[in-house]
């Protein structure tokens, strides 16, 4: 009988092949990529007219129940499309419970919201409009409100060849949001071959980002995010836990997502609310790091006002009891290099928005 056991050299070869495979898999997972065209769904192609219509809707306060809020209330172009607050602004008399994420580079996301409850921008756009603690607008009603404006009726006819619907409103807003991308960041220039794009200190930060600080395990690709969910056990803010208005919001969302103990829920369950999978308890989507210097405060509840505090959090291995992170052991100087990289390399030219004339 032929000996079927692999010979020593074959074992070495197999091990070597396996190692190469592992290395290449890791390299793909952790690669930084230069900017490329934003992905656009086939069913919602970009046109200049659609983008302009979406921009008008984005800034139109008719989309909120009391006419005081538009999308830009929480995604202010002058604050890198955030509102700069720990937790986002909210419908009058209520309080939101999570931080307003930037819309910069949102086109690259495969999941929207910190808990990933929407799969694309078209789906996402309607959530805040109908949310009781955000824009608080009934969607059947808002369709009629927009239909009562002749200029909008004409624009929808021109762009979509049909009447105003909530889905088309969302499609137009999504088209506008896909134009909000970071241009010309030093990292992008560096990845395209400009060896002088980063300062010496930022280069040291990049080496840490890819190496000892292990950032590229989750922050990679064009938008520096794996688009996955991780339970880092970010601490709760005691002030938020005490506020009865935030408790009402938390319980309301939990109730809507059929969380059995919503009445006694005292913390943010994160992705778990959507999947009901134990591993997703307090897991949140990895955010983009592009424009990070402009999007403080940080984390889903805005608990860290500065990048220094975020770096400290990761350096000590994340929040209590988490199993996703390990302590990094960075020196004070290494933390400084990392911060320099985050601030210097990931900040692009500011996006200048010409405010539309609303009908």
């Amino acid at each position: 009988m032929p000996d079927r056991r692999p010979g020593r050299s074959r074992i070495v070869m197999l091990c070597f092949a396996f190692l190469v495979f592992l290395c290449s898999a890791y390299a793909v997972a952790g690669d930084l990529e230069p900017f490329k065209a934003v992905p656009v769904p086939e069913e919602n192609p970009q046109t200049p007219e659609k983008i302009e219509l979406g921009k008008k809707l984005f800034f139109d306060r008719r989309l909120s129940g009391d006419g005081t809020m538009n999308c830009a209330t929480c995604h202010d172009p002058e604050q890198a499309f955030t509102d700069g607050l720990e937790i986002s602004l909210s419908y009058p008399t209520t309080r939101n419970w999570r931080n307003s994420p930037t819309l910069m580079n949102v086109a690259f996301q495969k999941h929207l919201f910190y808990d990933g409850r929407a799969r694309n921008l078209e789906e996402q756009a309607l959530f805040p409009m109908m949310s009781a603690f955000e824009m608080n607008r009934n969607l059947d009603f808002v369709e009629e409100v927009i239909r009562s404006v002749p200029e909008y009726v004409d624009a929808f006819q021109k762009v979509f060849g049909g009447e105003v619907t909530r889905e088309r409103m969302a499609m137009a807003i999504a088209a506008f949001e896909r134009t909000l991308v970071s241009r010309d960041t030093p990292l992008d220039r560096y990845l395209k071959g400009d060896q002088k794009a980063l300062s010496e200190e930022a280069m040291k930060g990049l080496a840490l980002f890819r190496g000892k600080a292990r950032c590229t395990e989750c922050h990679y690709g064009v938008s520096l995010s794996d688009d996955m969910f991780h339970a880092l056990n970010v601490p709760e803010d005691p002030e938020h836990q005490r506020d009865p208005r935030i408790a009402a919001t938390r319980r309301f969302v939990a109730k809507v997502y059929h969380f059995d103990e919503y009445r006694t829920l005292a913390e943010d369950p994160g992705r778990y609310l959507i999947t009901k999978d134990k591993k997703d308890w307090k897991a949140f989507r990895t955010p983009t790091l592009l424009e990070i210097s402009r999007t403080a405060p940080y984390m889903h509840n805005g608990i860290f006002p500065t990048l220094e505090e975020v770096i400290e959090f990761f350096d000590k291995g994340g929040g209590q009891g988490n199993s996703a992170l390990k302590p990094l052991g960075l020196s004070a100087r290494e933390k400084q290099y990392l911060k320099t990289f985050l601030v210097e390399a990931l900040t692009g030219e500011p996006v200048v928005i010409e405010y539309p004339r609303l009908p």
């Binding site: 306060r61 009391d66 006419g67 005081t68 809020m69 209330t73 202010d76 002058e78 509102d83 700069g84 607050l85 720990e86 602004l89 009058p92 008399t93 006002p305």
Partner: protein
Amino acid sequence: MAAGPTVKKIMDTYKGKIRLVIKNYPYIYRDYSHLAAEASLAARDQGKYWEMHDLLLKRSPKLDRASLIGYAKELGLDVKRFSDSIDNEMHAQEIERDKKLATDMDLYQTPTFFINGLKLVGDRPFDSFKKVIDEELKNARP
């Protein structure tokens, strides 16, 4: 929102260096918001604006006429003068002027702050203000 304590801390920290101007912006869809603005200005006439301001936030949403008069008593105000002021909407013109200013500036959120023209929306921690004020003071002419 209850930004009062932060504002007071700012005024204490930068005593003599900054000036505070408050504009009224009662929320259109709250029953007693306009009346509460009248009450705070009626209290201002008797030198107790901040005392009334704090009480209104503490007792909100109990801001009906009877409650407001109760608060005036509690603060030791001349109740007749206070009641006449809110019943006759003595400060309506000032409040309307403030509201028009806000809508002309496309402002809809309360509180909204302007520090030398720089806009900060929402109730923010003291340090957010400190950063801006320190920078402005640094750039101010001696």
